[in-house]
């Protein structure tokens, strides 16, 4: 055989090669969003330490649930119960701590166990019945939300249960979700005049931003772990395979059912991290927490380049999608734009992202 290259295979331009990376949309979107806000809202306080913290926290919230939604979507399934799960997980913690007087750490661990079990149940039903995950998790969206409203009303006669903050004082596990890190560094930065400090009041001289909330640490941790697992491990290959073509994957011995159920559990885990951080921050759980979060997570994932049909996507892309989300939502507020326009923006960008993704998919597979 001669050393030949097929003359019909055109050389791929590096542009085209860059285009088929799933993160492309996310990278471009992030660049555009930052450029726009730097241009039009730079003097609004959006880019001082407090402003940065503000949109970072919001982005980090989106990121935490986007990681779970992304991995699940690549494995070929959806979870619409994420938002309700957030409300439910928070309510479980609050009821156990406030009403039943459990120590905070045991309430948190119980909440995680409950969420993982519900995630596994979601996955199990989807696998066993062969129904679309869309329907199964839609059912759980209502079931969990119903309980989240019913339980506090029956037990405490109110829809918001507060008082978790006091109970969390001195708990060993609570700071992992509600604490801050690098407080020393921020105090030093404040002393050096690099970041803003309070000018008067009881906290005069202390930095406005006194540390990085654990919420952000969790977001970065989950993104990094998710990305490594997806791209650098054998299990990651199984995730792609399960979503790409479950039957083909089964034929070569990939445990597709196990992979999918684990991904439902990961999504539930992410929802529970989100809920726990929120409860620790606010000191309370509310029946309406997490509303619409499932859709926001899915939008972030799609902006990040994942295909709704599964088998293709990137955790880094989803994280960038979440960043775009957070920056725009808070940026519009800083820029003094009517906040309802954020929804318009969401709809438009979702549509653009899906069109771009479909085009990219055609390029990868060479379909016309």
């Amino acid at each position: 055989m001669t050393e030949n290259t097929d003359e019909r295979v055109k050389e791929m331009s590096s542009l085209r090669q860059a285009l088929i990376r799933p993160e492309l949309g996310g990278i471009c979107g992030t660049a555009i969003v930052f450029a726009l806000f730097l241009l039009f809202a730079s003097d609004s306080g959006m880019f001082n330490s407090r402003g940065v913290l503000n949109w970072s926290v919001v982005s980090a919230q989106f990121m935490i649930i986007a990681v779970g939604a992304c991995l699940l979507m690549i494995a070929g399934e959806f979870d619409l119960s994420v938002g309700s799960m957030i409300g439910f997980a928070g309510m479980v913690i609050a009821i156990l701590v406030v009403t039943l007087g459990w120590p905070v750490w045991s309430a948190i661990l119980t909440s995680f166990a409950v969420c993982l079990a519900i995630g596994a149940l979601n996955g199990f039903i989807v696998i066993r019945t062969g129904l679309p995950s869309f329907i199964v998790t839609l059912a759980f969206l209502f079931i969990l939300r119903g309980f989240t409203i019913f339980l506090p009303q029956t037990i405490e006669r109110k829809t918001i249960i507060g008082g978790v903050k006091d109970a969390a004082e001195g708990d060993w596990l609570a700071p992992l979700f509600g604490g801050k890190i690098l407080t020393g560094l921020f105090a030093w930065l404040g002393d050096q005049g690099i970041i803003g400090v309070f000018e008067r009041g009881s906290r005069a001289g202390q930095p406005v931003v006194d540390g990085i909330p654990m919420l952000i640490v969790w977001a970065i941790f989950l993104v990094i772990v998710g990305h490594i697992v997806l791209t650098r491990t054998r299990f990651g290959n199984w995730i792609f395979a399960a979503g790409g073509d479950a039957q083909a994957a089964r034929y070569v011995g990939v445990p597709v059912n196990r992979v999918k159920i684990i991904m439902f559990m990961v999504t539930a885990f992410c929802a529970c991290v989100f809920a726990t951080c929120q409860v620790m921050e606010f000191g309370s759980a509310g029946a309406d927490r997490g509303l619409l979060k499932e859709f926001e997570a899915i939008i972030a994932v799609v902006i990040g380049g994942a295909l709704l049909t599964g088998g293709y996507g990137s955790v880094i892309g989803a994280a960038l999608g979440a960043l775009i989300f957070g920056v725009v939502q808070q940026g519009l507020f800083f820029a003094g734009v009517e906040s309802s326009l954020f929804r318009v923006f969401l709809g438009v960008i979702l549509l653009l992202a899906v069109i771009l993704n479909t085009y990219v998919r055609r390029m990868i597979t060479g379909e016309r």
Binding site: N4, M12, R234, A241, V252, G311, G366
Partner: protein, 259 residues
């Protein structure tokens, strides 16, 4: 003749009240290409699914290298060395060739005690194997979706061979392919056979079967109509056995013997 690698004896398979297979026997020797012919509904698919561990036979026995075997699921068959390449379910189009090649058998390399996917090894092996099979890849990260149907079959066959298949079952590998792609796949079958692997080639195309087959078994309505060695049987006879005789003769007459 040499001891067969796999021998299926009087395999019966019932699905409820439907008898899909009623006593099919077949054996395959290393280095031969055994063609399993049959028309649609003859029971070919059921039979190979029994062989590859997807279905347990209702009655009958499977001997693998002389030892009676019972497969509980496809994984057992794969471990034993029976690999099946399904016509349209061999590859995942959105994944790269290298990721597809090692799907289910990912090489791992430990770093800090954590097993990571060894991309370097996977990419190198994939490129080498593709080259021996006569497929030129742009790179190991090229998506399978960009390959032609014949190339996909070839990648799937190369994958099965690389992972130590002793018996390779090909389910209608040529039925959806063009002329040129078909000859590529047939050439691949020939190459694999010469490596001493037993090939079971399922097809309903007599010409494709005669091109590479050493022995031919015809299935009709869940039964074996006998096995013939190369040279002992003519294409017309095979065609007749597959279709069950008379009706086909009439049809062929009206079509001028072109089928």
């Amino acid at each position: 003749m040499a001891e067969p690698i796999i021998r299926m004896e009087n395999i019966e398979k019932h699905f409820g009240s439907v008898i899909a297979l009623s006593g099919v026997s077949l054996d395959v020797v290393a280095g031969e290409c055994h063609c399993l012919l049959g028309d649609n509904g003859a029971g070919k698919s059921t039979f190979i699914k029994t062989m590859s561990g997807v279905h347990a036979p209702t009655r009958g026995e499977i001997f693998f290298e002389g030892v009676p075997l019972k497969f509980d699921d496809p994984r057992d068959a794969i471990t034993a060395g029976i690999a099946t390449v399904y016509q349209d379910l061999a590859m995942i189009p959105l994944m790269s060739v290298a990721r597809n090649f090692f799907m289910g058998n990912e090489p791992v390399k430990k770093r800090f005690g954590i097993p990571f996917f060894d991309h370097e090894h996977a990419n190198r092996v994939t490129m080498e194997e593709m080259k021996t099979m006569g497929i030129n890849l742009r790179g190991p990260d090229q998506a399978v979706g960009t390959l032609s149907g014949g190339e996909r079959q070839t990648v799937a066959i190369a994958r099965a061979v690389h992972f130590g298949a002793k018996v390779l079952i090909l389910d209608e590998p040529t039925s959806a392919l063009g002329v040129r792609q078909t000859s590529n796949v047939l050439a691949t079958i020939d190459r694999v056979r010469k490596q001493g692997i037993a090939v079971v080639f399922i097809t309903h195309n007599v010409r494709h079967a005669l091109a590479v087959g050493d022995r031919f078994t015809v299935l009709n309505r869940g039964q074996t109509l006998g096995t013939a060695a190369r040279g002992d049987v003519s294409p017309e006879e095979l065609q007749d056995m597959m279709a069950g005789g008379q009706e086909m003769a009439k049809l062929e007459g009206s079509l001028g013997g072109t089928v």
